[in-house]
Symmetry: C2
């Protein structure tokens, strides 16, 4: 029989503190990823990030053990978003092409967001050995999911025959590249870009109706 907590609260103070800690951690990541995307990882100092958050560097080290961990959590969040997009699309119904379309659209949308952009901007040489291996493995998994959908589409006839590996690289190149040129203040919304890129990749540059 525990003594009653002084404050009437559905959560203990301990849980509240943990949530607080978690939200501060997120704030560090959110700030850091913007610096990384804008100035690059190496050109960003933790003093930059700390200053932007109105704290000092040791505070950041209270939440993260080193700079590499911060970068890895940033790309990790981006990869999770991509992974969810890929898995959700792969698992839904419809032809291979239907699923690939959905996948590409969601993928492109992630590429307009900070953590998604970070995935593409981060060269794996920037990560420490251990993180680098994980990073590569996660990217490969996503690629394999995409390739699987492409292969399904080739089997059911909804996608043109060809080298699935090359096709996957080619389409993911277009989508990843969105992270390099998308500008929230530009003329196209993220959604327009996603739809436009998907339709170009699906239909090709050649006008439909002509054999090529």
């Amino acid at each position: 029989m525990a003594t009653l907590s002084p404050r009437q609260s559905p959560w203990s103070n301990r849980e509240a503190r943990e949530r607080e800690r978690e939200s501060k951690r997120e704030a560090v990541l959110a700030t850091a990823v913007q610096f990384f995307n804008q100035k690059g990882f190496h050109a960003t100092s933790l003093d930059d990030v700390a200053t932007a958050l109105n704290v000092t560097k040791p505070t950041i080290y209270h939440y993260f053990s080193n700079k590499d961990e911060i970068l890895f959590e940033c790309v990790g969040r981006g990869l999770s978003a991509l992974r969810e997009a890929a898995d959700a699309a792969a698992a839904r119904g419809g032809s291979g092409m239907d699923r690939l379309r959905a996948l590409m659209r969601e993928y492109a949308l992630v590429m307009t967001q900070d953590f998604g952009i970070c995935v593409t901007r981060t060269a794996d040489a920037e990560l420490a050995e251990e993180s680098r291996l994980k990073f590569r493995a996660l990217k490969r998994e996503i690629d394999e999911t995409i390739r699987g959908v492409v292969e399904d589409g080739m089997r059911d006839g909804s996608i043109a025959q060809g080298d699935a590996r090359l096709m996957t690289f080619t389409l993911s190149g277009s989508l990843n590249w969105v992270a390099r040129w998308y500008d929230p203040k530009g003329p196209m919304s993220a959604s327009e870009i996603a739809d436009g890129a998907v339709s170009m990749l699906v239909n090709g540059l050649a006008p439909r109706g002509e054999a090529v």
Copy 2:
């Protein structure tokens, strides 16, 4: 009347020295670009480059005034190659689509070479202010050439109607991405990759013969 040079040579020693100097400069760039592509610009020290060339750092400073200049000359060489590919294709005969096909193929091939790879791998934040502006301007010029060909093709009916800007970004994304995954020891030759990527971009993922 100049006294005769001691050695019978079609070139003066002076010219020979200048050629020598030029070839050493190239050797520095060739070595540096490989480090940059493999480890990233910031992670590469000039000591790395010097050691690989069996010289010491000050020797490099005898040929270049700083690290930024080296990077800029590397991307400059890549951009020149891309520019030549784009200009040659834009100037030749044939429909917009014919020219775009040729352009994309050459562009992809450059992306399998060290200096081309460096263009894609280099985030412009890594360059110093002045070089960065030139870098951006050069990239934009190439983009505009490509977009011009795309627009020609839309006008003459050989390329499907659409947003030329978005199309250009989408196709150049695929081609730039080659620099990220191409492996000389991989299963496909540069030429096969170029042809394959072009044909996928031209024909689209959807099988031809079906309206979409």
